[in-house]
């Protein structure tokens, strides 16, 4: 079983708390290499309300890469990362969204992404991630260095709703680490940028933003100071600054917020691994059921992207759980009536997915 820290770039291994050594379930239901949210090559849709676009999968987001992560990637000379390095360097040369704290999307992109309906996620090729390698079968060209927003996203979770708290806790912890570490490195190497970037990105789009052009030369030069033209060198220096941190120093950078976020991770971990059921269960009336072309029913409750597929008869059995009888009593009654009985792993899954809830 993988450890929690295996989900994140290796550069964090010496820094993260001991807790990250714990084992974590592999999210086997989120099958990235054969996207569970896309229609099959034969055109069979997934059992969800919407399907992701085959040319994007869930990668319709341009993630921010922190300065030290870029430096780590550029310092990694392994051939399998050549394409990732090439893409990052091309973005640096373009100077759009290239800042001392890291590589961001263009402001125009951010404007579009922020205004996008949630249901458009995974369906917009024009917002495809710049690191997505369509030529290599839809893989991530910077996978080993992907940021927290990507490393913690799964369309479906083994522990369903119970797993959400863990992944959202990890996302918050790691995103805060990314932000604080990139500021830490910037403060060491190009501190005046922190002053210049006050309130950045909160205003309206400039002409350059709308046209996705680099900022005016003077603005870019002021931001980069003595590092103009040496951005790669700067990012590598950021990596060295972060790499030199001890675990204690890393904890210090995260401050008390790190302690609070870590508590959420611990609580999420405990909840994700809890396998108990209450004595009495009730059917969640907010559950959505969709009839599929093959006659099966796709049932979802906690997240529309995560559906359980079952027979209509089994679904009908679930509605018998009103919370007025014990679980065992409902199961016994269903057996006597000759109807399908949810039990074992299915019962646990239904609970994970909030289709059946504590009465």
């Amino acid at each position: 079983m993988p450890r929690i820290l295996d989900n994140f770039p290796a550069l964090y291994a010496p820094l993260l708390p001991e807790f990250f050594q714990r084992e974590i379930s592999e999210e086997k239901r989120a099958t990235c290499s054969n996207c569970a949210m896309c229609a099959s090559p034969e055109g069979v849709p997934p059992p969800t309300a919407v399907a992701f676009h085959r040319d994007t999968k869930c990668c319709t987001r341009h993630p921010t890469l922190p300065n030290y992560v870029i430096g780590a990637l550029l310092s990694d000379e392994r051939p399998e990362l050549a394409e990732g390095r090439r893409r990052v360097e091309a973005l640096i040369d373009r100077r759009v969204g290239v800042w001392p704290t890291g590589l961001r999307s263009s402001n125009r992109y951010r404007f579009l992404a922020q205004g996008m309906d949630r249901k458009a996620f995974g369906r917009t090729p024009s917002l495809r991630c710049p690191y997505y390698n369509a030529e290599a079968g839809g893989t991530c060209s910077i996978w080993e260095y992907r940021p927290a927003v990507c490393a913690t996203y799964f369309c479906k979770l083994v522990a369903g709703e119970q797993g959400q708290g863990l992944w959202s806790g990890l996302k918050e912890y790691m995103e805060d680490a990314e932000r604080q570490l990139s500021c830490y490195a910037t403060e060491k190497l190009q501190p005046t940028y922190l002053l210049l970037s006050q309130g950045a990105g909160k205003g309206k789009l400039t002409a350059e933003d709308v046209e996705e052009q680099p900022p005016p030369e003077a603005e870019y030069t002021a931001a980069w100071g003595r590092w103009v033209g040496r951005e790669r060198e700067y990012y590598k220096a950021c990596y060295e600054a972060v790499r030199a941190l001890s675990p204690q120093e890393f904890e210090g950078v995260l401050g008390h917020k790190g302690t609070r976020r870590m508590l959420k991770v611990r609580q999420g971990y405990a909840y994700a691994n809890y396998k108990g059921l209450t004595e009495s269960l009730r059917f969640n009336t907010s559950t959505t059921a969709r009839m599929m072309p093959n006659g099966q029913v796709a049932v979802s409750a906690y997240d529309e992207h995560d559906a359980l597929v079952m027979s209509p008869e089994m679904f009908s059995s679930l509605t018998e759980f009103t919370g007025e009888e014990t679980l065992a009593a409902v199961q016994q009654r269903l057996r006597e009536q000759g109807r399908p009985v949810p039990e074992g792993d299915l019962l646990l899954e239904l609970s994970y997915h909030l289709v059946l809830m504590p009465a």
Binding site: Q180, Y184, E187, L194, L195, G255, H256, R260
Partner: protein, 366 residues
């Protein structure tokens, strides 16, 4: 020498970083006692308008206090624990707010959700209009703040005009960001120490943009008994006690503990304050070639005077209209300042005035 920290609540003096012991930045034009943006008994409306291009003057009934500040738990506690008579009115008002329950949370006391939303959408010129919104801690009879020594980040760092112009705005904004960050971090830390269960249940603060208003909140009524009990748990009815305990926790912090609480954010925000401070105390040199900021607002006033605003409409530099036209003609970015000097001198335009206009962002390097 007054230090930066001397203008802030006194508990900060024991743990804030060294930069806060530097000499305070003086804002001589923002005269709160005799509001520069109002017509007062000491100066006329015409005199106030000589120094601003803002469409309307502030009202003496509220001055700039047309904002509802959010007070972190430990500053509320500090105010309530204070026994000095001059803060008696402030304490009374704060206790009244606690009794009213609206906006009263374990981390802070602020405005209602509906107010936050309306304020976010306000027209910029609502600012300074007390009929629209008046700070609940503002004493109309005296024109003073009743909680002055415990005022929060926004109020401690707001000035309508800045001696250092654009650099001044940047400095005070840096200070505001720093104080805003520590207000949140320290209030959560204090709550964590005093009432961990309440700290764990704290919702993430939402900007007005992402705020959703509950069915109770939209009515403008205080939270229901159930909602309030869920928020305060076994501290309900002992809110003042909790706030005072939070104040005690923060008051006892050492510089090292403070650093540990605020972490990397503290380092980054302090660095920003330091750099912004250096820009304020080290005035720029006059550029060799000057031109006008294309966004400058110029208004001509009776008596042949022009008022120029660059970095802010609130702040205006008055000068004879004739001198303005000389400036306009000579400083178009096409010739060095040296070549323009003879005509500027004839119009009584000194280097000191030019430098001030650069700081006000009326003039820029070409």
């Amino acid at each position: 020498m007054a230090r930066i920290v001397d203008s802030l609540p006194s508990l900060y003096s024991q743990f804030l970083p060294d930069i806060f012991s530097a000499e305070q930045v003086n804002e001589s034009k923002a005269t709160c006692d005799d509001c520069a943006m109002c017509e007062t008994s000491k100066h006329s409306e015409a005199e106030a308008r000589r120094h601003t291009n803002f469409p309307m003057l502030f009202s003496t009934g509220g001055k700039c206090c047309t904002f509802f500040p959010s007070m972190p738990n430990y500053l509320v506690g500090g105010l309530l624990a204070d026994t000095t008579p001059e803060l008696a009115e402030g304490r009374r008002r704060m206790l009244e707010r606690i009794h009213g329950r609206t906006g009263v949370t374990p981390s802070a006391i602020g405005s209602s959700a509906v107010h936050k939303l309306l304020y976010e959408k306000k027209d910029p010129f609502v600012f300074g209009n007390p009929d629209a919104v008046l700070c609940p801690y503002y004493a109309k009879d005296t024109g003073l703040c009743t909680i002055w020594r415990f005022r929060g980040a926004t109020c401690s760092t707001y000035f309508c005009k800045h001696d250092a112009g654009k650099d001044g705005v940047q400095y005070w904004r840096a200070l505001k960001d720093f104080l805003g960050m520590i207000e949140w971090e320290l209030s959560v830390y204090a709550l964590w120490k005093v009432a961990p269960a309440l700290a764990r249940a704290l919702p993430t603060p939402q900007s007005a943009e992402h705020l959703s208003v509950s069915s109770t909140q939209i009515t403008g009524r205080p939270p229901s008994d159930g909602e309030y009990a869920a928020l305060w748990s076994d501290w309900e009815g002992r809110e003042a006690e909790l706030y005072k305990a939070c104040h005690a926790v923060v008051s006892a912090l050492t510089p090292e503990e403070f650093k540990r609480v605020v972490g990397g954010d503290g380092l980054a925000f302090t660095s920003v304050v330091e750099h912004a401070y250096q820009k304020v105390v080290n005035p720029p040199k006059l550029p060799e070639v000057l031109t006008f900021n294309p966004e400058v607002v110029v208004k001509f006033r009776p008596g042949g005077e022009a008022v120029l605003s660059g970095y802010s409409m609130l702040d205006g530099v008055p000068m004879p209209a004739k001198a303005f036209w000389v400036l306009r003609a000579e400083l178009s970015g096409l010739k060095p300042l040296e070549a323009a000097r003879p005509r500027l001198k004839e119009a009584d335009i000194s280097d000191e005035l030019l430098l001030n206009l650069v700081r006000m962002d009326v003039l820029r390097a070409a």
